[in-house]
Subunit: 453 residues, 2 copies
């Protein structure tokens, strides 16, 4: 019976794509307060999409953006799966680097494949819709699903998932399940889908350095007066040691080495970097690039601003300087300790007459899946049936909600990814390959069938 559903997906690809386009057109940028109504619109669109499939769907208000839940019935003796996805997207800027409107998706030829281009095409609207459309296709051909499926869609994944723990605490009973399925990760390579079994945690921080009580003239005060931007540059530079590591005291305490099995993965370090115009690995000199991005903790500066930044020149000594940065954490690191260590590091380093203020942007530990999970084997086999091969892997990104889901629902998550390495998520011209979308839907049909057995 799987085959008839797969055939149905193949023959109705255009309609499925059009629904994804509708979804991408909603500019649900969760971090930008100006887009709050768009985020709400995306939540409503999803709830209606689930209802159209016969689900009991609801939009739940939170102190942040809404949560969407839904339930589709299935046999009581089969496992109950919960699918998690997020309907919010990253800001599209810098806008001038997009070749098309980020919120007007296009489908264009790209060699052997086609590209769906738009903000969220991959992360996570395209990926999320592979699962939703797989369920829809099964219902359309079979009349019902082979197992019970619940949905949880979040609108704050790109801005810290602040409302999620509180919501899960209240909704745990409604979201009871045997396993959580997530689609927000990459394939290992163009032809090999992957189940991600570990990822890094995140500590997001914003800081404001203040020096003096006003901007000053560099001719009158230059040298003698503390310069907030110079103090900030000094602090940020000091966070990295000369060997490419993070220099916070105790930062690497307890960090677990990468799994030995990764040594078997054919990873092209030079190609990984040259694909984005780089050639020199920037992290710890004694670590492979794969270990640097999957297993080793890091510190990255996301934004700096302060002083005179308009055209022309102004010889000012600015009294305020700002930065946003984050630490990616490895299994074994305590996010709270990292945050405290960072704040103490900054406070200790700035001159006595300067001050610093911090604000938090997310805090989550790294995660590694239990290797004995009973759903891992059937999922890898279903993926292999569709693609010819499959693998497990790690990822350097953070999916902070996995920890929260496990804590509140008591089950682990299976992270199945169809995104390609070069999807430019969070960057201009984000895209999702048509083969990711198409193969993703077909894969989920097979996975649900495999898990239901």
């Amino acid at each position: 019976m799987t085959q008839s559903t797969l055939d149905h997906i193949d023959s109705t690809l255009d309609q499925r794509l059009e629904r994804l386009f509708e979804f991408i057109r909603i500019p649900s940028v969760s971090t930008d307060p100006d887009h709050a109504a768009d985020v709400r619109k995306a939540a409503d669109w999803l709830a209606q999409t689930l209802r159209d499939m016969g689900a009991d769907a609801q939009v739940h208000a939170t102190t942040g953006h809404p949560m969407v839940t839904g339930h589709l019935p299935g046999p009581q003796d089969a496992p109950h799966v919960l699918f998690y996805g997020h309907y919010d997207v990253q800001p599209p800027d810098p806008l001038d680097l997009w070749v098309t409107d980020p919120f007007e998706p296009t489908l264009r030829d790209a060699g052997d494949d086609k590209h769906i281009t738009g903000r969220g095409a991959s992360d996570d609207k395209g990926a999320l819709m592979t699962f939703v459309e797989a369920c829809r296709a099964i219902i359309e051909t079979e009349g019902a699903l082979p197992l019970r499926v619940s949905f949880l869609f979040e609108g704050e994944e790109e801005s810290g998932s602040r409302s999620l723990p509180g919501f899960l605490a209240k909704a745990a009973k409604d979201l009871t399940c045997d396993v959580i399925l997530v689609c927000d990760t990459d394939m290992w390579d163009r032809d090999t889908p992957a189940v991600t079994t570990m990822f890094r945690g995140l500590v997001g921080q914003e800081l404001t350095i203040r020096a003096g009580d006003r901007d000053l003239h560099s001719g009158m005060f230059g040298n003698a007066a503390a310069n907030a931007l110079a103090v900030l540059a000094d602090v940020l530079a000091a966070l990295r040691s000369d060997d490419g590591g993070v220099s916070l005291p105790g930062f690497y305490d307890g960090v677990v080495p990468p799994p030995a099995s990764w040594g078997n993965l054919a990873f092209d370090e030079a190609g990984f970097l040259s694909n984005v115009g780089l050639s020199v690995p920037a992290g710890e000199a004694d670590q492979s690039v794969l270990a640097q991005v999957w297993a080793r903790p890091s510190c990255e500066i996301h934004g700096i601003w302060g002083g005179y930044t308009a055209p022309g020149f102004k010889t000012v000594i600015p009294c305020e300087a700002h930065a946003k940065l984050s630490f990616r954490l490895a299994a074994g690191q305590d996010p709270v300790l990292v945050r405290e260590s960072f704040q103490a590091f900054v406070r200790n380093r700035i001159p006595a007459d300067c001050s610093v203020e911090f604000s938090d942007h997310g805090l989550s530990p790294a995660w590694a899946m239990d290797a004995s999970n009973p759903y891992l084997g059937p999922t890898l086999q279903a993926l292999e049936a569709e693609w010819g091969q499959s693998t497990t892997c790690g990822t350097g990104g953070s999916i902070p909600i996995i920890g929260a889901l496990k804590e509140h629902l008591g089950v682990d998550a299976l992270l199945v990814g169809f995104a390609r390495f070069d999807n430019r998520i969070h960057s201009p011209n984000e895209k999702y390959d048509l083969s990711s979308f198409h193969g993703g839907m077909r894969s989920w049909v097979r996975i649900l069938e495999a898990i239901a057995k």
Copy 2:
């Protein structure tokens, strides 16, 4: 005859102030292309002001903002003075820190004095007008000046004086004079006007660091990919050594020690810093604060921008980072060599797969006046007659045009200042004390009389 002019100034202060207000209301921000028409308007206003006084005045187009020249006749056997001033102003931002509109000047009680508040109230519109109004008052009371006076007003002083050298080369004959008078500097203290006999040079630079060909996701690439902001922070931090000095190789070669006579000036280091909310001198630990700001070269960061700076959070590794900075130079330093040394320093420090692009924002040597200048003594005496005392001093600011004036016109400049230390030039709420304006006009009447003898 001086006394009748001084009395006339005292009795007509309001009209003189109103003309200054008119001038300040023109937002002649030279560095901002959006204000080009305002800059032109200020030039026209000045030319008309000179014509109203009987001068032969002209506005000269340049490749940048216009030059204004004018000539007022006087006895052929007396010296011929050229007064230089600038009619452009710094940008007013950050606007939210102004307590009044920067271009709607106000006069408000401030203890024993009153404050003229507005962008350019001190630098240089208020100061410039002390001289213009002094000439006007002499003509109003005496019918003519005791010596020939020419005027040169520039509209690019706050943005690099790019057109000045070329203009001076062409206009040198029209601007022939025996001495140049400039009013753009500070008093030594509230009660002591000063002739500034040395100031620092300037090398202004903007730089853009590029790392990779696109913004990247810090989860996917964090650690392994060069981060343009981290590279920039590293370069900027490395420009200052741990002892507060500038770490460019050879930077201090040839720098002349501060004059021993400065040791006699009663300078309140703690008060200088506490007045602006600071307490720790930030420059070379073995130099006095006065030496740090007047005599020692420096490096200050004026602006940094790059990556995600809007509200919220974006875990991006930015591919571009920008900064504006300048070096203040001491006598003995070659600005061209400093620029080359800086650019080489940056190129040597950035990773091999990153690039840097520079643009120039001004280049001028430091300057020290010839101690035997015959006009220095009479000027100091005239100042003492008005204020009870006077002094020579240095300044940490740069007046790049002095070098150009000397090169093209062959004479040195006398820098006479009535600005107060706390005038907040280049900062929000710039002000000029009414006593500076009033005493400045009276001083110039005395100085012109003294020089004419």
